[in-house]
């Protein structure tokens, strides 16, 4: 009780998520209690169908919990409506997906600028920030390339640039290396680690790749909709 408690960024209690209704109902999350502090690098691991992606989607405000409470920076997320959750994503959260989810036929620069467009930034500022983000992920020469012209690793780096261009407090990555080879996987994970260490961005990674999980300083195992283990490394 002597050291000040680290600031709780994410705090969930009794979180459940049920898909469908009646006899066909499937409970993906069965009561999750979890606290994540600012600046942590957390890997969420578990077998397929354990509910780890569902947990990430709920924590990332892409999906809503069925029951339970979820506080993000003290805000009761379960009480927010669609637009309020959109605004929370806009100003505080960044996402990286396994399938990249870049806009097709759209240049890397435009993809990275997109979140800034919704923030209403003037054109010149958008350009400068997007350029800086693409440079920081090592793609300063691929500004005009569309997703179809980029390799998987390059697309994921564009996606990371898009996620960090708004300087979010938390970065959610759902199987970010699932479509990448081992060399590119290491590059992407090095990038995430650097963002965590240098910029203090809280990073949550869902993965079933041990090498990826090893980058994190905390590993939460989800098993059958519940937390199986929660291990912090020194």
């Amino acid at each position: 009780m002597s050291a000040p408690a680290p600031t709780a960024l994410i705090e969930v209690r009794g979180l459940t998520k049920t898909y469908g209704a009646g006899g066909a109902a499937f409970q993906a999350l069965k009561g999750i209690d979890l606290t994540i502090n600012r600046g942590e690098f957390v890997a969420i691991i578990g077998p397929s169908g354990s509910g780890k992606s569902t947990l990430m989607n709920v924590l990332g405000c892409l999906d809503v919990p069925t029951t339970g409470t979820y506080h993000y920076q003290g805000i009761a997320v379960e009480a927010l409506n669609n637009d309020e959750r959109s605004l929370l994503r806009r100003y505080a959260l960044g996402f990286i997906f396994q399938g990249f989810n870049l806009l097709a036929r759209t240049s890397a620069l435009d993809n990275v600028e997109l979140p800034l467009l919704y923030r209403g930034l003037p054109r010149r500022e958008r350009r400068a920030k997007a350029l800086a983000a693409l440079t920081s992920v090592g793609l300063p020469t691929k500004l005009r390339s569309t997703p179809g012209e980029l390799s998987g690793g390059q697309q994921q780096r564009v996606a990371i640039a898009r996620a960090i261009v708004t300087e979010p407090s938390t970065l959610f990555a759902d199987e970010p290396t699932g479509n990448l080879d081992s060399v590119t996987t290491r590059e992407v994970m090095a990038l995430l680690t650097r963002l965590n260490l240098d910029r203090g961005i809280t990073v949550l990674v869902v993965t079933h790749n041990d090498e990826v999980a090893a980058c994190a300083r905390r590993t939460v195992l989800i098993k059958d909709g519940l937390i199986g283990s929660d291990v912090r490394r020194a």
């Binding site: 892409l62 959109s86 605004l87 997906f97 989810n101 898009r162």
Partner: protein
Amino acid sequence: MIWNAFAIALREIARNLTRAFLTVLGIFIGVAAIITMVTLGQGATIAVKAQISNLGSNLILLRPGVGFRSASAGVPDFSEQDAEIIGEQIAGVAAIAPVRSASMSTIYLHTARTTPVIGTTPVYFDINRWVLAAGRFFTPADLRSGGAVCVIGETVHRELFEGANPIGAKIRIGKATCEVIGLLKGKGQAGMGDQDDAIIVPLSTLQRRLAGKASSHDITQIVISGKDGMDGDAVIADITLLMRQRRNLQGNEDSNFSLFDTRQIADALGSTTQLMTTLLAAVAGVSLLVGGIGIMNIMLVSVTERTREIGIRLAIGALGGEVLLQFLVEAVTLSCIGGLLGILLALGLCAGLARLIHVPFNFNPQINVIAFLFSAAVGIVFGYAPARRAARLNPIDALRHE
């Protein structure tokens, strides 16, 4: 926010030019088709109405046989006496002209063609409201002497003389040569056939000189103009009675001649044009429908891609309303572009086709507005409705849409 949505929507259109093109094309064709068809249909109606008013408002035609068609064999024609007696005995007749018409070969210099030749009396010009473009009509003196003179219509002038001054020229008509003394001002065509394709000569000239000795001198048609304010039905009834007496028809025998007044001709032509316009509108409606289905297909085919796009936009923090506004602006922009291009094409087509088929080009703002609004509505509904559904989804469901 609105300006932002515009910027995003225009970017999106520029990025998906194929989709944009196909959407615009559907609306474009639908709008152009319906405007062209309706405008031309209305032009034709106007042309027919103008021609009917050219006929004269109280014109009565007496023809052999029954109905509008040419007399069938065995039905007797009329005599000049018939015309004289009708003129004398029937009250309400202002002027009456016997007509004998025949198709004859006509030659001027090296140009030859077959032309309808009308032999009649000078009062015919008045009854049919012909106006001179040049020269003079033939006179009663010409009629008495059977002078070798003729008055030609605009079509004949164009075909035989290729625009050169015809007055004083000699043309060969049938078996004789006539001097052109007058050129008629054109009445236009469509509906009734080409009224300007005619050579009008004194009746006696046609009977004695042009047709040859063996030919009949009978009258094939009698044109009558009624006095102002005459009761057309009463005059027709009187003439019918008189003609039945002159032909000794018994009470139970059908008349072997028929009478029409302008109103009946107008009704007959009017209902034909009406039918044509309805038909054209139906065809145009089908093309609008097909265009609409085209738009719908393009929009629905791209729903999967667009739903994922909406998922991405929502995930990075777009509000549902912002996404909808973007889609709305896209749909409205494409629909308006298609609609405006359609109107432009339709106006061009109408102007060109109206000239080609000789109907007046009548710009109808109403049909332009209706076609534009309908197509725009189709484009907007089918562009906007799927987006509306997608924008209500949880972002993760939109992202996972297959």
